[in-house]
C-alpha cells in the first residue's frame, strides 16, 4: 500500500495507525512562525470506531490503508456470518459479527448496504438510511388516537425496538431512519 505524506492528508483519507485502518476526519497544520510545522489530525479507527487525535511532523509519511467501500445487497444470515452479494457481478461476501455489529437489527433482505472492506475483508456494514420493517409486537394503544402524542415501544421483525405513535399496530410495516433509530412513517 502506498504511503501518504502529510500534504496529502484530507478528510476521508484512509491510513494505518496502531495496526488498525483509520479514516482522517480533520487535518490541521500547526506551525510556529520560525519553527517546525506539525499536522494535527483527528482520525476514526475503523475497527473500534474510536476517534483519536494524532500529531505528525509535516513532511512525514504514513502508511495508507487498503480500505474501500462497496455496495452489496444483503442475502441472509447462517447464524455465524451475514452474506451479501454484488448485484452486478453476483460475487458474494460474508461479514462476521464484529463487522455487522449493532447494525444487524437494520438488515433487510435485498436492501443494498455499504460494506467497508480492509484488505478485502468486510470490517463494517452500513445499512441504507431508511429501512422498512414489520411490527411484530406492540401494545394495542388507545383507540382513536391519531395525533401520535406520546408514542409506545414497538418490536420489529429483526428485533429492533423503536418508538412509534400509538395508532400503529402489529402487522403494519413502518419506515425507520437507521441513523437515529427513529420512526418515520407507516408504509402502505
Amino acid at each position: 500500500m502506498a504511503n501518504y505524506s502529510t500534504n496529502e492528508f484530507k478528510a476521508g483519507l484512509k491510513i494505518m495507525q496502531d495496526g488498525e485502518p483509520c479514516v482522517i476526519l480533520e487535518n490541521e497544520m500547526v506551525k510556529p512562525g520560525k519553527g517546525q510545522a506539525f499536522n494535527r489530525v483527528r482520525i476514526r479507527k475503523l475497527l473500534s470506531g474510536k476517534v483519536v487525535e494524532k500529531t505528525f511532523k509535516s513532511g512525514d509519511s504514513v502508511e495508507g490503508a487498503d480500505v474501500m467501500d462497496m455496495e452489496l445487497a444483503y442475502l441472509y444470515s447462517d447464524g455465524e456470518f451475514w452474506h451479501f452479494m454484488n448485484n452486478e457481478s453476483f460475487e458474494q461476501l460474508a461479514a462476521d459479527e464484529a463487522a455487522v455489529g449493532e447494525n444487524v437489527k437494520w438488515l433487510v433482505e435485498q436492501d443494498v448496504c455499504t460494506l467497508t472492506l480492509w484488505n478485502g475483508k468486510p470490517i463494517n456494514v452500513q445499512p441504507p438510511n431508511f429501512v422498512e420493517l414489520e411490527i411484530v409486537e406492540t401494545d394495542p394503544g388507545l383507540k382513536g388516537d391519531t395525533a401520535g402524542t406520546g408514542g409506545k415501544p414497538a418490536t420489529l421483525s429483526t428485533g429492533a425496538v423503536v418508538r412509534v405513535p400509538l395508532f400503529v399496530q402489529i402487522g403494519e410495516v413502518i419506515k425507520v431512519d437507521t441513523r437515529s433509530g427513529e420512526y418515520v412513517s407507516r408504509v402502505k
Binding site: 500534504n7 500547526v30 510556529p32 517546525q36 510545522a37 506539525f38 500529531t55
Partner: protein
C-alpha cells in the same frame, strides 16, 4: 453546473474593519514620526531559515538573457535593515509577504506583514510600543511578559536550558500523545517547538496578550544573544488567544555573527535534506557598513484582524485567500 466561486471570502463589513485598522496603524506611526517605506517583494536572495520556504519566480530582462531566479520575500527584514544602515531612522512597512507550504486556518501563503524598526530601542522598549499599538487596535488590557524559560517551568515543569531538558521533553511529549510526531534524534528545538505550540501556547495569553522573551540561543534567528545569559537570545514573540501575533528582536548588528548564523542555517538545511539557500550579501554588506543598534518586530496583520473580528479563520479577513485567488 459547477459553481465558480468568484465572490470574496471576507464580508464587506470585515473588509471595512480591515481598512480602518490599516488607517489606525498608519496614524499610530505618523504620531511617532516613524517613516513608512516600501522595499522589494522580489529580491536576489531569500532566507536560509530551516523552517521558512521562499516562493521563487524567474525574471527576464536586460542583463538577464537567461531567466534569473528571484525570491518572493518571507518578510521585508533584510531590505529594511539596509535602509537603517543608510540612516533612515525609524521605519515601518505594511506589505505582502510569501511563504511556501503554509496553508491553514491561521496561514495564507500570501499575507500582510506589519514590520517596524526603532533605532536606539531595546527589545523591552519595542515590546512596550507594540503593546500600545495592540491596545489601540484591539482595546486589549496591558500585556504580560514572561521568559521562555519561565513559561516552560511554570506550565510544563521543565527547564528548557537544563542538561536533561531533551530527555524530559521527549518523555513528556510521548506521555501527552505526541509519540508519532517525534523521534529521539530530533533536535531540542524541534521538541521545544512542539511543546510550545501544543502545550504552552494554549496556557498563555488567553485573557491578555503575553510576550514570551529570551528565546533559546539556538532559536536566536536575527536577535543578539543576552549578555547576562548567553543561553538566551533577545528574541520575543507575542501570543494572544491562541494566535502567534508577532516576532521581534533586539537586532544582531554584528556582520561576522550574522554570516555565521546564515552558514549554520545552511548546514542544518543540508542535514535535513534541503537545498542550501544563497546568502543575502547585500544585508551582510550593510551590516559591515554599520547598522545602528535597534529593535525590530514583525506582526501578522491578518491575525490582528482575526482578533478584531472574533473569527478563528484567517480566510475571513482576506478578500481572496489562496483557494479563491
Amino acid at each position: 453546473m459547477t459553481e465558480i466561486g468568484w465572490q470574496p471570502a471576507a464580508s464587506l463589513q470585515a473588509l471595512k474593519i480591515r481598512a480602518d485598522m490599516l488607517k489606525a496603524v498608519r496614524a499610530f506611526f505618523d504620531q511617532r514620526d516613524v517613516l513608512e517605506v516600501e522595499t522589494p517583494i522580489l529580491a536576489h536572495a531569500g532566507v536560509t531559515d530551516l523552517h521558512l520556504h521562499n516562493l521563487t519566480t524567474r525574471l527576464s530582462g536586460p542583463g538577464m538573457p537567461v531567466p534569473t531566479t528571484f525570491y518572493l520575500q518571507t518578510s521585508p527584514e533584510y531590505a529594511m535593515k539596509r535602509l537603517l544602515a543608510a540612516n533612515s531612522g525609524p521605519i515601518f512597512q505594511i506589505c505582502k509577504v510569501f511563504r511556501d507550504d503554509e496553508i491553514s486556518r491561521r496561514h495564507n501563503p500570501e499575507f500582510t506583514m506589519l514590520e517596524w524598526y526603532q533605532p536606539g530601542f531595546t527589545d523591552v522598549q519595542l515590546m512596550a510600543e507594540l503593546d500600545e499599538l495592540l491596545q489601540t487596535l484591539l482595546a486589549t488590557e496591558p500585556a504580560e511578559s514572561l521568559t521562555y524559560q519561565a513559561a516552560f517551568q511554570q506550565h510544563l515543569g521543565i527547564d528548557p536550558f537544563a542538561k536533561d531538558a531533551h530527555e524530559k521533553l521527549f518523555a513528556l511529549l510521548t506521555e501527552k500523545g505526541f509519540a508519532d510526531a517525534i523521534v529521539r534524534e530530533d533536535s531540542i528545538d524541534t521538541l521545544l517547538q512542539l511543546a510550545m505550540s501544543m502545550l504552552v501556547e494554549p496556557e498563555i495569553g488567553q485573557h491578555r496578550p503575553c510576550f514570551v522573551t529570551h528565546f533559546p540561543a539556538s532559536q536566536a534567528a536575527l536577535a543578539k544573544l543576552d549578555q547576562e545569559d548567553p543561553r538566551a537570545a533577545r528574541r520575543f514573540e507575542l501570543f494572544y488567544r491562541g494566535l502567534e501575533l508577532a516576532n521581534g528582536f533586539w537586532e544582531l548588528t554584528d556582520p561576522q555573527q550574522q554570516a555565521e548564523r546564515f552558514c549554520a542555517d545552511n548546514a542544518l538545511r543540508l542535514q535535513h535534506g534541503l537545498e542550501p539557500q544563497p546568502i543575502d550579501e547585500k544585508l551582510l554588506a550593510a551590516l559591515m557598513a554599520g547598522m545602528p543598534d535597534c529593535a525590530g518586530v514583525a506582526v501578522g496583520f491578518d491575525r490582528l484582524v482575526m482578533l478584531r473580528l472574533g473569527t478563528d479563520s484567517i480566510q475571513d479577513t482576506i478578500a481572496f485567500p489562496i483557494d479563491r485567488s
